[in-house]
């Protein structure tokens, strides 16, 4: 199938016909989405403060536990984030087609590439309208795969490796993830990668939230509401 044929098929997909409403994101996917967003908010703020602490507390050390609480917030959110990610993987296996999208890129599908080109041109103001999609648009899909799925794996591997340093040699965190530290060239380098990962995710969130709001207004289908109710309505 060449790109033109793929484009024609995308345009005339009966599933996305005007006025139709489809059930896209099942409850666990939606719940995970918002829980994950919350975890990332807490992780990014607390993580930043771990690397660049607030100004010092006055008085006796025994009167305060500020870094302790910030690190606790980070680790609590980190565990939630990691467990939620595992549950999300489980749901990709048992859930519907759209629950699986986050974990692969359909690079062999001409329709996906046609959609990606169209989406890029749409964002460069070269197209009057984007295509309609039941699940993710290809550009969103690409970014979500890189900056959510791949980044989550990076953050979990480096994060638990760093956690294992405190938990000690032989702890399960150390046994499962300790190999990451020599691989990246030491503890300091692992901190740097973990830190860069945060900025990657933060950059994604800025673009993602903008795209979600913009598409909600500009595109031919519902967006934000779809991540709340699970249903998507095609407008034209």
């Amino acid at each position: 199938m060449n790109l033109n044929a793929a484009a024609a098929e995308l345009e005339n997909n009966p599933q996305t016909a005007a006025g139709r409403t489809v059930y896209v994101y099942e409850a666990p996917v939606r719940l995970w989405h918002w829980l994950n967003a919350l975890c990332i908010l807490v992780l990014a703020c607390s993580g930043y403060l771990i690397a660049s602490p607030l100004s010092s507390t006055p008085g006796e050390a025994s009167d305060h536990f500020l870094m302790g609480y910030i690190r606790f917030a980070h680790f609590a959110a980190a565990y939630l984030f990691a467990v939620a990610f595992l549950v999300r993987i489980y749901w990709a296996v048992v859930g519907n087609h759209n629950a699986r999208e986050l974990f692969y890129l359909p690079v062999t599908d001409a329709k996906w590439w046609a959609g990606l080109v169209r989406e890029l041109r749409w964002y460069l103001f070269l197209e009057k309208q984007p295509y309609k999609y039941v699940g993710h648009n290809p550009m969103g899909h690409l970014f979500m795969f890189l900056f959510v799925t791949v980044a989550a794996v990076l953050m979990i591997c480096t994060g638990f490796a760093l956690y294992g340093e405190g938990a000690g040699l032989g702890s399960w965190q150390d046994r499962l993830f300790g190999w990451v530290i020599p691989l990246l060239g030491g503890s300091q380098a692992t901190h740097s990668w973990h830190h860069l990962g945060m900025w990657g995710i933060v950059s994604f969130v800025i673009l993602h939230v903008y795209a979600a709001v913009r598409e909600d207004i500009m595109s031919r289908q519902t967006m934000i509401n779809t991540m709340i109710s699970g249903h998507r309505t095609f407008r034209d």
């Binding site: 507390t57 025994s62 302790g68 060239g185 030491g186 503890s187 300091q188 740097s192 903008y210 913009r214």
Partner: protein, 362 residues
């Protein structure tokens, strides 16, 4: 006749009482408990003496200097009696051809049975010509001596990771010894230099038990490199409380608060300084008011400033750390969003303008 360690010690004039004291001291410093002392004594009385050959490549002799300053005089006497009999360029009595002959003899007589301790590392560029010993490149001597050794000790950051002579751009291609020696058990005792007590304990363990102590993933003895400086730092309560030194001359510095913000590498450095300390257990860098520089970590010269918490990442240019690189990316994303939103609004306004004209016409 096979000589035991005990025979050697007695010959050196060490009394039985001192010998037993040494055994219990060693057992404790290795964290083995009181029950291990008789086992150490027994091993030293019965096992044939294992010679140690100590080679020095590209290095500054700080490892040897540290080693001979082992705090407890007893340890010093005993361990030195065990070692100096053999081959150690700075400590042995022999010199010149005589010394080299001795080296050859030990290698022949104890083939496969001696321990090789290496201080410094071999430079590989120009066929190893940057480090010549007894008229030959060090790399040749090292490989030859390692081939017949039972086990190899890598002393210090040089032998373990490369240290300053291997820092970028590493003109002589100084190379850690585990990259050039294969098929032999190698134990890394990093640090610049390593702590004296750690060195003597490692040697004693290997000589008495005839095996390597338990090692971590990177080949370091767990008993001394199993925890970070940060994990056992006496200033840790100030870290947890969020009380930091913000400038070298501020009040917090005088009060001895945490040096995290001054770039202390304690949180990323595995070593025993915060427990064993230095110079007879007197002090260690953090206790003297300066952050840890991470001298026992792989490539510590190339890991950015000793005084930054978020250190530079060289791949992104000279002065770029994770916050500068990432913050720039996030700011760029933000700028793109703002510009894109503005353009979108502009286009929409134009479109509704023309739409209004159409309605107006109706």
């Amino acid at each position: 006749m096979t000589e035991t360690f005990y025979d050697v010690l007695r010959r050196q004039g060490i009394s039985r009482r001192s010998f037993l004291k040494f055994c219990s001291l060693t057992a404790t410093s290795l964290g083995l408990g009181a029950a291990a002392a008789p086992r150490i004594a027994h091993a030293m009385e019965t096992k044939p003496r294992t010679p140690v050959i100590w080679l020095e490549g590209l290095e500054c002799t700080c490892c040897s200097e540290s080693f001979i300053r082992s705090a407890h005089p007893l340890t010093k006497d005993v361990v030195l009696s065990m070692l100096s009999l053999d081959y150690h360029v700075t400590l042995m009595a022999a010199a010149g051809h005589q010394a080299e002959k001795q080296l050859d003899e030990i290698k022949k007589k104890y083939k496969g049975n001696y321990i090789l301790a290496v201080e410094g590392n071999p430079p590989l560029n120009e066929d190893g010509m940057y480090c010549i010993e007894a008229g030959r490149p060090f790399i040749e001597i090292l490989k030859e001596t390692a081939a017949d050794a039972k086990a190899v000790i890598a002393w210090g950051a040089c032998a373990s990771w490369g240290c300053v002579q291997a820092a970028k751009p590493n003109p002589t291609r100084a190379t850690p010894i585990d990259k050039v020696i294969s098929g032999k058990p190698i134990i890394k005792v990093p640090g610049c230099p390593p702590i004296a007590e750690v060195m003597t304990a490692v040697v004693t363990y290997m000589l008495t038990f005839d095996r390597l102590p338990e090692l971590d993933r990177q080949g370091r003895p767990k008993m001394f490199y199993g925890q970070r400086i940060h994990d056992k730092c006496y200033r840790r309560p100030h870290f947890d409380a969020g009380q930091f030194v913000e400038a070298w001359d501020d009040d917090a510095a005088r009060k001895g608060h945490c040096l995290y913000k001054m770039g202390c590498k304690g949180p990323t450095t595995y070593n025993a300084c915060s427990t064993v300390r230095w110079n007879d257990g007197v002090s260690f860098p953090i206790q003297s008011g300066h952050g840890c520089i991470g001298c026992s970590e792989d490539g510590f010269w190339d890991k950015g400033s000793f005084y930054d918490r978020v250190t530079d990442i060289k791949q992104f240019g000279i002065e770029a750390n994770a916050d500068k690189v990432g913050g720039t990316a996030a700011a760029a994303a933000g700028a793109v969003v703002v510009a894109h939103a503005a353009l979108t609004a502009l286009k929409k306004a134009k479109k509704s303008d023309s739409a209004e004209t159409v309605t107006g016409d109706k």
